[in-house]
Amino acid sequence: MHKTTLMFKHEFLVTIRRVGFIIMTLIVPALALLGIGILALTSNVAEPSMPGLTSIGVVDEVGIFDGQTAQGFVRLVPFASKEEATAALARSQIEEYIVIPADHISSGTVQRYTLEKELSTSPVKVAMIKSFLTWNLLEGDVPPEIITLVVSPLNLEATRITETGEPAAEQNSIGNVVIPAVFALLLSLALMLGSMSLINGLGEEKESRLIEVLFSSVSVRQLLIAKVLALGIAGLLQVLVWLISMPLLLNLASSVLGGALGDIQIPSGFLVLGVVYFVLGYLLFAVLSIGIGAISPNAREGSQLSMIYTMASFIPLWFASLLVAFPNSPIWVVLSVLPITSPVQVMLRLGVSDIPVWQILVSIGALVASIIAGLFVSTKLFRMQMLMYGKRPSLAEIARSLKNA
């Protein structure tokens, strides 16, 4: 135990003194501060201003769209033909024009012509055109307040309630996603950096044969426990710095944005599950890294091999937008149970929807089982392969190591 403690202390100090570790720990809050600074600077420099009056031409082939030509900041200018409108556009008298074809009533089609290069028509302009058409179609037949209601966006006030009908403590909000999403991103980064740090350390010890000096003093078990714990605690420290800085930065950002981030909430169970998944995720990646470090002839090859599982941990982040759009897809359940992706996936899902308890239990069970299996395999590989130098063992040699260790 004494030797394990000594090694843990040494490994921990070596890890947190690494330049890469210090930079990564500080770079996240530093970048966030920089972003807030830029935001504050640009919001101060760019005075909020009303958009200028825009002229849009209208070629009305139906003959009924001649009223309501002032739509907010847009003035609609009638033209008798497309040719006239095009000539006016070429002279910059209008910014663009629309054609309401003769069959508009049956087809609903409106054609838009512009000189600008753009991917699609802006939603603001679509709303404005829709409003112009609706007002002209209904005015006189329908009360104005009804027309206003028709053209206005739906004002939907959603409230999450409990089974007794009381408003739930945790209300649905896009802000709920922010903290879990940021935590998931940081967790992915921490897992990747932790794995690389462990593999680099093992690679250096293997290349310099320092591992032999250590083996002559301590057992493989002591060595592995110390390394895994040191890496885990260092990673925890890193995430702690990020988590502590997160509320401060969010408050700062919120004040810069005039309270726009005020509805951010921490989902229930997030803190407990966050710690559980962080610890289990770290342990899984640590045991995998030990196995990879053992079979790799040097740190460079080890880092390349580790990309297989470190990149896999990013899969939930790649598909995060789909998670928001389709939160109940079965694919998220699979990713929540798969040990490599579950720590990040569960964090993301916590912000978007509720996760059934059975899924959490299966997910944690699968993680724990894979850590135990990974530890078993990695320890055997470590024992047999750490003293093999020069080349990566073949699959047959790895299988033999697992059998003979």
Binding site: E207, S208, R209, L210, E212, S216, V218, E397
Partner: protein
């Protein structure tokens, strides 16, 4: 009780024998030279003795029993490739590895300072390992190996890459350790160092023991029945000499089986020749190895 006793050791990798039927022992106050060409099986033998890997068959006993974890504190090991934490200060590195060998920090610091002083490195105690010369780093590695006063010391190529001054320093330290009663296994392919330091020798070739025994007895066993002489003038015909070879001023006289070196010396003296050198030819370990290797490979 032998400090190390190996009997019938066999170890193979991927079906290829690295060490076969190896038997040897090391006693307290003895330096065993483990010699052989690269790839002979020296490192595998050391790793099995240190319990880094299990033998396929055979017995390995350290301190009279199969090695266990607590025995590690009684062993000092200097690996072939000299690896240290490059960013640690010399004293911090020594203290860390010493405490891993079970020493308390205060004792370790006292011993470290004493060893650094003896090796002339006390002023470098705060320097990072990467700031030391290769020779100095190797001395640090030796300090790390012996600081806890181990009963068994295993040195794998301790002199490789060292300049003559540091080589001499290391030899002095190794000699002192033997005098203190330590059992030492010295693995090297530099035969001259073995001749200078070792009490016994185990020669391995292709994983097999081709020579094992006391150094003196071994050299005696392989001794040519000849003498090297340097005299003023021509020795002429001598009774008991069956052949002669000349080289750079000296003459090697090959003796008949029943002739003694003393009779040759008497004859030279009786002829009134001035004798500058008279030496019973003793083969070097290198010669012995080449002879054995030649026989083995023939």
């Amino acid at each position: 009780m032998s400090v190390v006793a190996v009997r019938g050791l066999h170890k193979s990798y991927a079906g290829k024998a690295a060490v076969s039927d190896l038997t040897f022992s090391v006693e307290s106050g003895e330096i065993l030279g483990l010699i052989g060409p690269n790839g002979a099986g020296k490192s595998t033998t050391i790793k099995v003795v240190l319990d880094f890997m299990k033998p396929d068959s055979g017995e390995v006993e350290v301190f009279g029993h199969r090695m266990n974890e607590s025995d590690k504190d009684r062993i000092g090991y200097l690996p072939e490739e000299k690896g240290l934490y490059k960013n640690l200060a010399t004293i911090d590195l020594i203290l860390y590895l010493a405490t891993l060998k079970g020493m308390d920090k205060a004792t370790a610091e006292k011993e470290a300072n004493e060893l650094l002083r003896r090796t002339g490195m006390l002023e470098s105690r705060k320097k990072k390992i990467k700031e030391l010369s290769k020779g100095m780093a190797q001395v640090v590695q030796l300090i790390v190996t012996i600081i806890h006063s181990p009963e068994l010391i295993i040195l794998d190529e301790p002199f490789s890459g060292l300049d003559p001054v540091n080589t001499d320093l290391m030899k002095q330290i190794v000699g002192t350790l033997r005098d203190e009663g330590k059992a030492i296994i010295l693995s090297t392919h530099q035969m001259n160092n073995v001749e200078e330091l070792c009490d016994s020798v185990l020669m391995i070739d292709k994983g097999r023991s081709v020579l094992y025994g006391g150094l003196r007895e071994t050299r005696e066993r392989f001794r040519e029945h000849s003498v090297q002489v340097e005299v003023d003038g021509e020795p002429g015909e001598l009774t008991g000499v069956v052949d002669r070879k000349s080289s750079s001023g000296a003459v090697e006289l090959i003796l008949a089986p029943d002739a003694s070196p003393q009779s040759i010396l008497d004859q030279l003296r009786d002829r009134g020749l001035s004798i500058r050198r008279f030496e019973i030819t003793t083969p070097s370990l290198n010669d012995i190895f080449l002879r054995i290797a030649g026989q083995t490979h023939a």
